[in-house]
């Protein structure tokens, strides 16, 4: 179908204020409608484009909904085994220290199966940027309970709601990694409103700068939605996220450099 447009007279190159980043491919994101993954990809691509780092970037995307990140981002990408992206990125950055290296991981990946790799990469202070998408669920496999699933939250493997006594507590990985000496910048953001998008983008830009300066691990959690897994419309899921996820996973910086 043809694009739909607003007032045609205004659509001139000199009036352009926002367009899809050239660091994204033309492929349609495989994410469900309204999923924050797409927005996070977009912002990451914009940051890479604006920093002029397309030719210097190596991304690592392990198993989860974002395993196909390489289909969408026009940079060199390694698809990694479930949970192992921080180990993979460790080697990339140490062998190619001039390159910009990021991982892009979900909550099951980063906070369950990859806990050891996450903690040790952060503790060594590997000069990488870790993007952690926390939507409290295993999206790719169909909505099972994740390490970050909230108490009482329903999933296909906690159909009566997460029972803390039986299933343990939701894990605040970002708080944990903020305590490690190797992390330099740790923040928790979201991408569901324009203001939050701006903040997340700013955080990523900082992480890019810190990596250039070899400051250590930059860890950006993005609390996100999973409309399909949560069985809500995208707009409802964003509202539910604000009301339920944010109180437990409050947005803001957890660790910032002493002197900026």
């Amino acid at each position: 179908m043809k694009d739909v447009t607003g007032i045609k007279e205004i659509i001139k190159p000199e009036n352009l204020v926002y367009k899809r980043s050239s660091v994204l491919t033309d492929n349609v994101f495989s994410y469900c409608p309204g999923c924050g993954h797409g927005t996070a990809h977009r912002i990451l691509a914009e940051v890479i484009e604006e920093a002029g780092l397309q030719s210097e970037t190596i991304g690592v995307a392990p198993v989860g909904c974002s395993v196909l990140l390489y289909e969408f981002m026009n940079v060199d990408v390694q698809q990694a085994a479930h949970g192992r992206a921080p180990a993979v990125a460790t080697a990339i950055k140490r062998l190619l220290p001039e390159k910009f290296v990021f991982t892009y991981q979900g909550d099951g990946d980063l906070a369950a199966i990859g806990t050891a790799e996450t903690i040790h990469a952060c503790n060594r202070g590997e000069n990488i940027m870790i993007i952690f998408i926390n939507n409290g669920i295993y999206g790719m496999t169909g909505g099972q309970m994740a390490p970050t699933t909230l108490e009482g939250m329903k999933s296909s493997t906690s159909p009566y709601g997460r029972d803390i006594k039986l299933m343990g507590n939701p894990l605040k990985m970002t708080e944990i990694v903020a305590t490690l000496p190797g992390t330099y910048f740790v923040t928790r953001q979201s991408v569901h409103t324009p203001a939050n998008v701006k903040k997340t983008k700013k955080a990523m830009k900082k992480a890019v700068e810190y990596q250039k300066l070899n400051k250590g691990t930059c860890f950006i959690e993005i609390v996100s939605n999973c409309p399909s897994g949560w069985k809500m419309s995208p707009v409802e899921s964003n509202k539910w996220m604000e009301e339920n996820m944010f109180p437990f996973y409050p947005l803001g910086d957890l660790k910032v450099p002493a002197v900026e």
Binding site: S55, Y70, R84, A91, H120
Partner: protein, 357 residues
Amino acid sequence: MMERELRLMKGNEAVAEAAIRAGADGYFGYPITPQSEILEYLMEANPYKTTGMVVLQAESEVAAINMVYGGAACGKKVMTSSSSPGISLKQEGISYIAGAELPCLIVNVVRAGPGLGTIQPSQCDYFQAVKGGGHGDYHLIVLAPASVQEMADFVELGFDLAFKYRNPVMILSDGAIGQMMEKVYLKPKKNRSTVIYDWATTGKPASRERNIITSLDLDPYAQEIHNQNLQAKYREVEKNEVRLEEFQTDDADYLLVAYGTSARVSQKAVQLARAEGIKVGLLRPITLYPFPSGRLKELSRQLKGILSVEMSAGQMVEDVLLSVSGKVPVSHFGRMGGVIPTPEEVVDSLKLKIIGG
């Protein structure tokens, strides 16, 4: 040209020194007996200061093999080492490396299992090494050193084969060869390669499409083509890379087939048997995959029987049986649990299972 250097070293130390001299870019390891000397030697040698080789103690064998994945995907000459339980932990990563067609070197200094087993030498990981090991249809190229010299030599050979075929290579050693000291001639130090491979993730310049390293293809027909391409590569490897050593096979009526430590024992067994007038030879596969099936088949025409000698319950014997297709009797003699067979036991078993049978 610089002279080769003669040193007295443990097999594990020889691997480490050879890696530095072969121009390796990275080593990622985790301590486990009986191979910890590899990591220890590299940490002490600190090659980052001289050649720029990265050496890192990972938080687990799992992390180590995934570091190898990351480095290999950048086109770097990277390796890891471990022993049996640790190699089991690495299998998922090895499968990914094979699936993504990445070059790397994995050293397995085998100890007896199953489970935690014992730290004594064994050859019980033959199946795991030559039949794939992890999930999916794939092969490693498997080199079996029988001396400290070969521990050193196979590092460079392993890297060469890994890059030639973009395939993981395993050195399947054992605790005896890892720990024993022998003289070893070391090659002069090579510079690390500066080649940037067109398939590697090194940052996408405007002049090329992005490089993607993955073992994932959701389209079953595309995945099958990938599988077929892998199989075609393995057939090439089988055609080109068989390596073996023969000892007194010319006039042999009987043949011992053994690799690594078992081959050293079997060589003595050949001498003992010949002293008794039994015409025995030894075939030592140097590559366990590709297995020297062709030569075994040829030899089987002159033989009255074959004894596969292994420090296992009998694993390689299956490949010997497949090679000779029932044309000649084949049996197995092995010790397990970390016990090294004696040459006398081998001769007795040959008499009992092959000559007497």
